[in-house]
Symmetry: C2
Subunit: 349 residues, 2 copies
């Protein structure tokens, strides 16, 4: 028996790091069930043969972020039943998700958002009962301001991506894909701060090391691709101007770096152009009838651009559509341009 | 024992008409499984408490019409294995659905579409391998032209709504709602030719006569509401100009009239304005992140306009979102107007 165990280890048995974090993801799944939705897996042959999508825009608040937010808030309450509340830094989907989790669980919530944040997003966070702190907050000092506030108030930080509770929550998507996609061969995820893909990669590789996990990021924000190539933790020099506002972080987190680069649980990171992202948003709108935001469309963009090899015959490729909170002005612009192309004889998408 | 049976009949036991057609709907469900999708039921608390939606835009070709089309084509092949092909009349979703069914089953397909039909829709039908006949076809003579062609060619007619095979296929939505919605109290369906709501009403009332079935049609095309009120088969005098292009039929079919009006299997038909339909489309896009076409949005329009009483406490209301094939120019216009309202301080939807 001992010999067999040694042989398994020598043959590349799953490392303890993966099995331990995968167990935490399984625990997160039971913790958050009843608070977040188990999104369906939808066939998406209209995109390419063998493709399915995981439509996380169908979650409360319109993105996958509720998974990590609820896991972190519920874990906090389990370990500190007297916790006063939570604090986070986000100008987007994570802020809304944490505000919803806090409201549902009776916790106070503060969201630090830079001055000049999209007023719609500020209003959405406030509508969920959270306090927004913006005065004197900039993109550069926001993490520092949040730390100061956290120390002063005793609120617990729920980091958008660089915290294990958050990553374990996001990883529940990987568990659901394993359950719901027969013959899963490839999983494609957007990469911003790296929380989503790290959780999914751990969940998937723990059970099925043969499944390929591929990350996609905008060419304008290609720090993860650069890190994967150099093996170092690369950081952008300035905030990237990509349309994909959920993927503008200047580098992946330390935990994401460990999962993606050091432990090589992500097989490849590919990039897409801004035009490819726009084209993918329209394709998801017109072919799948789902509203996807730019960050959520990068996986489909990579597929349509031929940047991801098709799955082997008999195996399926699942793309995570991470969210649907798109600025109506942007949707209007893309659809008007599409309608104009069609009116002048351009081809349908 | 005999006395009990009599008592049950006196107390209003389900009439044979309902049980017989309901059995056909159950048969249709097994017939079409594997050809159409079992769409999920999605919670839609973002629209109103206790509401769920059946998102039929997630079907192949983007509408519920594949259910009836596949049921009719498969029934044809079962009874006439040598059938040459099928013919239909449609300028919209039904044409695409019949073309897909025919192509999948190796049947020839002709779709009669009036001259001047939306070229995108003509192209979509042709892309599915069907022959489009338009020369000399008008809205007024199209049924007659199709009958002539049918007699000459021997193709089998698949009527968009006034045929039992079609109605039984659409009714599979009702079966799925019974299975998937715990505590179902109300079902809300669009009404055009009446095929969808007739099938759903039969399926639902056969099992649960207590569930209310409510139809919704545009105020500009309110022939079903008029028929329900007068008890006669009312017909519009001219083609209605509603934005809901799938609900422009000038009257419900004879079979729909029997189900909806004569047998009273639909509890109520309510109407919505054009502005309410546009508002509902935006609400479905921005709150549910689903792309809905005008005809598919009338149920949500009625709910948001307060035209349907909320479900009783502890019971749920399911709205059928019948399709998602919306003209990109229309989507662009609605979203641009919405973005402009938001930019001037208007409230989010």
């Amino acid at each position: 028996m001992v010999i067999e165990t040694d042989a398994a280890a020598a043959a590349g048995a799953t490392p303890a790091f993966v099995t331990e974090h995968a167990a935490e993801i399984v625990a997160a799944a039971s913790r958050i069930a009843g608070h977040v939705r188990r999104t369906p897996v939808l066939p998406a042959e209209e995109i390419a043969p063998g493709v399915a999508v995981k439509p996380e825009m169908l979650q409360p608040t319109g993105s996958f972020k509720v998974r990590g937010a609820f896991n972190a808030a519920l874990s906090l309450l389990a370990s500190s039943p007297d916790a006063r509340g939570v604090i986070t830094v986000s100008s987007g989907n994570h802020g809304q998700a944490v505000a919803l989790a806090a409201r549902s669980l009776g916790l106070a919530c503060t969201v630090v958002m830079p001055e000049g944040s999209n007023p719609l997003k500020v209003a959405a966070v406030r509508a969920l009962g959270a306090t927004v702190v913006s005065e004197g907050v900039t993109g550069a000092n926001r993490e520092e301001r949040a730390r100061e506030l956290q120390e002063r108030t005793g609120l617990a930080m729920i980091h958008p991506f660089d915290a294990w509770d958050t990553i374990h929550g996001q990883g529940t998507i990987g568990l659901e894909l394993l359950d719901d996609v027969a013959d899963l061969g490839v999983v494609v995820c957007p990469v911003g701060g790296g929380g989503l893909i790290s959780g999914c990669a751990i969940a998937v590789k723990a059970a099925r090391p043969d499944v390929r996990v591929i990350g996609v990021e905008p060419e304008l924000a290609a720090d993860a691709a650069a890190s994967a190539q150099s093996g170092r933790h690369e950081r952008l020099e300035a905030a990237p101007a990509t349309i994909a506002d959920g993927l503008r972080s200047m580098s992946i987190g330390d935990r994401g770096f460990e999962v993606i680069v050091q432990r090589r649980l992500v097989d490849e990171v590919v990039t897409v152009t801004e035009a490819e992202i726009e084209q993918a948003m329209l394709a998801v709108w017109t072919r799948l009838h789902l509203v996807v935001e730019p960050s959520g469309a990068v996986g489909v963009a990579a597929l349509l651009a031929g940047r991801i090899p098709p799955p082997a015959a008999g195996s399926r490729l699942a793309v995570v559509l991470s969210g649907g909170n798109v600025d109506p002005a942007l949707s209007a612009r893309l659809l008007a341009a599409h309608a104009a192309r069609l009116a002048t004889g351009g081809s349908a998408l």
